[in-house]
Structure formats: structure tokens, C-alpha cells
Amino acid sequence: MKRLLSLALSATMVISLFTGCTKQEQAPATSTSGDSDVIKIGVFEPLTGENGGGGLQELDGIKYANKMYPEVLGKKVELVVVDNKSDKGEATTAVTRLIEKEGVVAIIGSYGSGVSIAAGDIIKNAKIPAMGASCTNPMVTQGNDFYFRACFLDPFQGEVMANYAIQQGAKTAAVIMQNGDDYSVGLGNFFINSFKKLTGNDASVVDISEFQVNDTDFNAILTNIKAKNPDVIFAPSSATTAPLIIKQARALGITCPIMGGDTWENPAVVEVAGADAEGIVLSTFFDENDPATEEAKSFVEGYKKELAGKEPIIPAVAALGYDAYILMLDAIERAGSTDGVAIRDALNATKDFEGVTGVINFTPEGDADKNIAVIKTVKGGQFVYIDSVEVK
């Protein structure tokens, strides 16, 4: 009896494997059968795993954009979403699946630069244009003429914060980075470089410390920093770590401004840090209270309704996801075809495109050429706009 059962079970497993293959083999037949009446755009995001939360926020923005602009070239746009599990191996198979099985004409994503870099070579070889929404590592688009992105990069954000700090009269700075996190290390290093360059003094960055993932006690680092008494602390870190650093710094009696990157624009930071969060400074992609373009105005209004109080502020990555989608759609429209190379050329030719996060042009490398970042602070438990910094 047991043997029979086990045999039956293994048989079903084997059969299911085969049906899987045959089913997959049929798929391209339907998707590539001439010019069907849908245009497929692949969405490649981490929906589970380490970056699942951010990936979902970004996906919501893309879906909302799809709802607003459901058609291109007179055809319906169908989003095909695949999960890359925040895992590189999985990312490569997921992207190959989008290209081979689903026959997508373009790809949007992904949150997290590592998976985007892993997918980059496949995208390049298949000549399918891709638009990253929030992957900020320069290596994503480097040497890959099919990968574009709607956000600014780590170097830019680091520079912005250094500029802002100096505008505010800071002469010395301390930097805290998360060891092993490409986002944090990238931002931190570019801040250090620009700060040194702008002050013309190599000793102006008085302390550079790194902490490990999941560290919760920053007293050692902060005590050290306190002794050196910098004018400002720059601590690019995740939204879970940031409030801990802020709270512990204030508890130690450090009064100088604490600055971070776009990840800080998260209600969790204010919630956990409470009153200590007052006065922190961060740079971000857009400000919902001061829409930069017409597109932004309608987006903020519509998306607020769409969120229906699910989240108190519009996540910046949702806005970027939205931008990535409309940028891609605009390029397909201008290319007049779904040919990968034609879309790429159209993307390269993008000029002064009005997105939610500002007016977008592309650099030769394929990065959004934005020169303005929004600086926000926390006042009365709310994120408020204080300044826009322009970097030349």
C-alpha cells in the first residue's frame, strides 16, 4: 500500500514536471502569434524575501500607472509580474522567463540593485529595453545600453547631502555606513568624497564608522563620534536601523543634525524615533506637497485615493515605479513599434519628459539626468519640505 502510494506520488510529480514543460512550450505560441491585441510589459520585482516590502510598494506604483494609462499604440498593455525573491539566481531565471516565455517587449524593475545587475546581461543579450525604478547602484546601467533608470544614483545623492550640509555651514562631518549594504556604502563614500572636495580639506570628515547588518547598539560608534564633535552626521541606512541610530545619538547628547538618504522617508522612522526624529534631514525623489509637474499633481491626487489611508505618505518608490512605466510607454509610443532596439533608441531620445519625480532626460549611460533633489526634515512628527538642492 505504502509503495503504491509512493509510486503514485512520484508519478504525479514527474507528470507535473512534464506538463509544466509542455505548458510552457505552448506559452510563446500565444504570445508571439503575430501582432496580438495586447502589449506585454514585464515587471520584475522582489515580492518576497529581503526586499519584499519595497518591491511591493514599487509594484503598486507601476500597477496604478497601468490603470491610468492602459493603452499604447492602440493596444492594451498587460503587466506580467514575476517575483525575483531578492535572490540573484532566481532573478536571472525570472527575467529569462519574462523574455522567453511571456514575450514581453519591455521590462520594469527591480527594487534592489544586485538583482538588476544580475539580470542586466540577459536583458542586453535579448535586446529588450529595461527601466529600473529605484536601483541606485551605478553598475546597473554601466556598459549596458538597454538598461535605463528613472531614479538618481548613489553618487548624486551623496553629493546632494554634502552640498546641503556645507550650505548649512557645516565644516566637519562624521559618516556611519552599514557594512555589506551597497546602497549605504555607495551613498556614504560619495558623501565623503564630495564633502572633502567641497571643503578642500581632507580632514573635514572626522570619523568614518561601519556597522553590521542587524546591529542594534550604536553606542560605541556614537561615543566615538561625540568625542570628535562633528558639525553633522551622515548615516545612510535602512528605515529599521535609522531610528535606532537617531535615538541613541540623542540619548548620548549629540545635538548636531543627523542626515540620511531616501530610505529615511518612511513613517516607521518617525514612529520609532518619536520626538528624537525632529530635525533629521534627508534627501528624496519627490515631494507630494509640492508637485514638480502637472503629472505629479494628478498622480498625488489619484494615488492618495488609491492608497485610501493604507500608507500615510506616498512612498517615493511608488512614484518612481509610476515614472518608470510612463517613461517606457512614452518611448514605445514614439518608437511606433514593439521592437527592442527601436524602443531603446526612443528612450535615448527622451527629452524633457514630465514625470512625477521631475523633468527627466537620460544621460548617455541611461541614467535619469536629474539635477534636483528634494530635502526634507521632520517637524511635529511629519515629513516637511525644506529645500531643493541643485547640483551642477
Binding site: R3, P28, L47, T96, M139, G180, D182, N189
Partner: protein, 365 residues
């Protein structure tokens, strides 16, 4: 007399079947490699499965055949992957990859062919295994598991901090790729070598250690020497697997080699059978293909106009876990236990005979 002839007959039949299978296999791989059948998707999943098979079999050598509960595989893979990454990236790309901290002056000038880098990666992993194995292999069971797990995390953190060599958290990209043929040849070679080792005197000593250390020692087996040997050889092939993995993905970063990666391989060997090479190979293909095949559970599904709420991102992992539980319930020792897949085993299953006898050579590749 009759029996003997029948036996001989059977033997030639099996021999012929093996050759046929090998031929079919070679033809299929060639066709896939030349993009004549299948597509990039199948090819990629096959490549990934083959690489996972190498690492899983190498882990089985240590865990399943020698009975050492080691969880260091991700660390050894990282060593192999980084060796290939550092030495095979074209020299003119390097400056743009190491854009924050410049690469070590000496290393920046060295470029090695893929195979040399791959072997070097394996050797580096084996050397590190040797160094770590000498103190750590004095531990037993759970303690060994904890020590090796900690060690693999140490490797990851060391790689995160060796910025002039590994580019730290930013990772390395633009690693030249390899063809399906190369991956499969390396996979087959590695697995055959491990199989030969297991069927040698050393292999029998490994199994003796697994069954009973005291008895093995009483029989004159040098416990420590054999344990270190198994550990280092396992690490060598994990390093080779890691090198191929880096070349397949074209990029490495330390986050890839979290200890959770080791659990992936642990799953494969437990599923395939601790102490079965063919079982491990089958399960690495099942796990990799299974995860891809189950993707349709992630897509929204509308039935009779209703969206079924279960069908959303992450649901396939639930299904996958349920399938695993069912499998473990019915195959408590994994798919094959300590047996190897062979024609005899297959015919025995169909005849319903109790196949307790161990059969050695596997028929399937």
C-alpha cells in the same frame, strides 16, 4: 547455468541502455547548447540545476557519506565564486567596477583563463577547508554544524571588508559567461570524481566513519585524516560550483552567500537522500525546476469572474513547502535513501520486490 546466461543477458541489456542514455543525453545537451531545441529559459534553469547539483553532491559527500553535519557550503562557494570573479573580469572593465575603492594594484593586472581560475577557486576553497577543518573537525554533530555555519558567515564578512580585492558590498560584475556544455561537462566530471572517490577505499572509510566512529577507528581507520580529507574535497567541489555560479550569473556580491543558501543545498540532499549521489542530482533538478514550474501560482488567477485571493506573490513558496512536507512524510529517508538509481532499482520498484540490496552504479546521468 541458465541463470548465468540470463544474468549476462541482463548485463548487456543494461550496458546498452546506459550507452543509449548517455548518447541521448549528449545529443540533448548539444542541441540545447546550440539553441536548436528548448529556449533560453529552459537552458538557464538546466544550467542552474547542474551547478546546484555539483554543490549538493559535494555537500552530500561530507554530510551524507562521511556523516559530518557541516553547514559551510555557502562559504566555500563564495571562495570559488570570488576567485573566478576577480581573475576573469576583463582588465579594462575593472576600473569602472571598482569605482569607490580602487582594486589592488597587483590583482588589477592579473587576468586568468576561466578554467585556471575555476580550478584555483576550488583549490583555494579546499585550502581554507583544510585550515578550518583541522581545529573544527574535532567537534561532533551539532557543534560542528554551528562552527561551520559561523565559519561561512566569517568568509562572507571577510569578503565584504576586503574592498580592494572583492569590491566589498558593491560586488563585481561583467564576469564572462560560460556555455551550457562547459557547465555540464564540469558537473559530470565533478560528480563522477566524487562517485569514484566514494567507491574507493577512502569512500568505504568515509562510510565506516558515518556508521560508527568507534568501530571505524578500531578497524584502523585514521578518523581525523579521513574527515579532513572528505571536508576539503567537499569544499573543493563547492568552490568549483561557486565559480560556475559566478560565471553563469555574471556577477557576485557577498549578500548572495548568506547561510540561507546552504539550507537550499541541505534541502536538496535531504530530499534526494543523505548518502545517494543520484538522489541528490535528481532532487537538485526537481527543486530548481519545481520552483520555476510553480510560478503560475504567483500569478493572479480569475475563475468564474472571481479573483482567487490565494494566487498572489509568494503563494508558490507555500505550495512548494507543502509538497516538501508530503515528500518527507512518505519518503522519510529522501527519494532514494542511501540507494543509487540504477536499472536494477527501477525494475525492482516495478516488480514490487523489496530492494534492500545496495546497487552501486547509477544508470542515469
Amino acid at each position: 547455468m541458465m541463470n548465468k546466461i540470463e544474468n549476462k543477458n541482463n548485463k548487456t541489456k543494461r550496458y546498452a541502455a546506459n550507452i543509449l542514455l548517455a548518447a541521448v543525453f549528449i545529443v540533448v545537451i548539444t542541441l540545447i547548447d546550440q539553441n536548436l531545441i528548448g529556449d533560453q529559459y529552459i537552458k538557464r534553469v538546466l544550467n542552474l540545476s547542474a551547478i546546484y547539483a555539483i554543490v549538493a553532491v559535494s555537500m552530500n559527500l561530507v554530510n551524507g557519506f562521511t556523516g559530518l553535519f557541516s553547514l559551510g557550503q555557502a562559504g566555500f562557494m563564495a571562495i570559488g565564486a570570488y576567485t573566478v570573479a576577480v581573475f576573469t573580469v576583463p582588465i579594462n572593465y575593472r576600473a569602472s567596477i571598482f569605482y569607490i575603492v580602487p582594486q589592488n594594484q597587483v590583482l588589477a593586472q592579473i587576468h586568468l583563463p576561466f578554467f585556471i581560475a575555476l580550478i584555483l577557486g576550488g583549490l583555494a576553497a579546499a585550502l581554507v577547508a583544510l585550515l578550518i577543518g583541522i581545529p573544527v573537525l574535532r567537534l561532533k554533530s551539532d557543534y560542528l554544524a554551528i562552527a561551520t555555519l559561523g565559519f561561512s558567515e566569517i568568509i562572507r564578512i571577510v569578503f565584504t571588508n576586503l574592498k580592494t580585492i572583492t569590491n566589498g558590498a558593491l560586488g563585481i560584475k561583467s564576469i564572462p559567461g560560460v556555455s551550457t556544455w562547459v557547465i555540464f561537462i564540469v558537473a559530470i566530471l565533478s560528480i563522477v570524481l566524487i562517485a569514484l572517490l566514494i567507491n574507493s577505499t577512502y569512500g568505504r572509510a568515509f562510510k565506516a566513519i558515518r556508521e560508527d566512529e568507534i568501530a571505524a577507528e578500531a578497524m584502523g581507520i585514521n578518523l581525523f585524516k579521513h574527515k579532513v580529507m572528505s571536508f576539503a574535497i567537499g569544499a573543493f567541489f563547492a568552490g568549483i560550483g561557486g565559480g560556475l555560479f559566478a560565471a553563469l550569473l555574471g556577477t557576485v556580491d557577498p549578500k548572495q552567500f548568506y547561510f540561507t543558501m546552504t539550507y537550499n543545498f541541505l534541502l536538496m540532499i535531504v530530499l534526494g537522500g543523505m548518502g545517494s549521489i543520484t538522489g541528490t542530482i535528481i532532487s537538485s533538478f526537481i527543486v530548481t525546476f519545481g520552483l520555476e514550474f510553480l510560478r503560475f501560482f504567483d500569478e493572479p488567477l480569475a475563475m468564474f469572474g472571481y479573483n482567487i485571493t490565494f494566487f498572489r506573490a509568494g503563494f508558490r513558496m507555500v505550495i512548494f513547502s507543502i509538497l516538501l512536507m508530503i515528500l518527507v512524510l512518505f519518503f522519510r529517508k529522501g527519494l532514494l535513501g542511501q540507494k543509487e538509481l540504477s536499472w536494477k532499482l527501477i525494475s525492482n520498484i516495478f516488480k514490487g520486490k523489496n530492494s534492500n540490496k545496495k546497487s552501486n552504479k547509477g544508470g542515469a546521468a
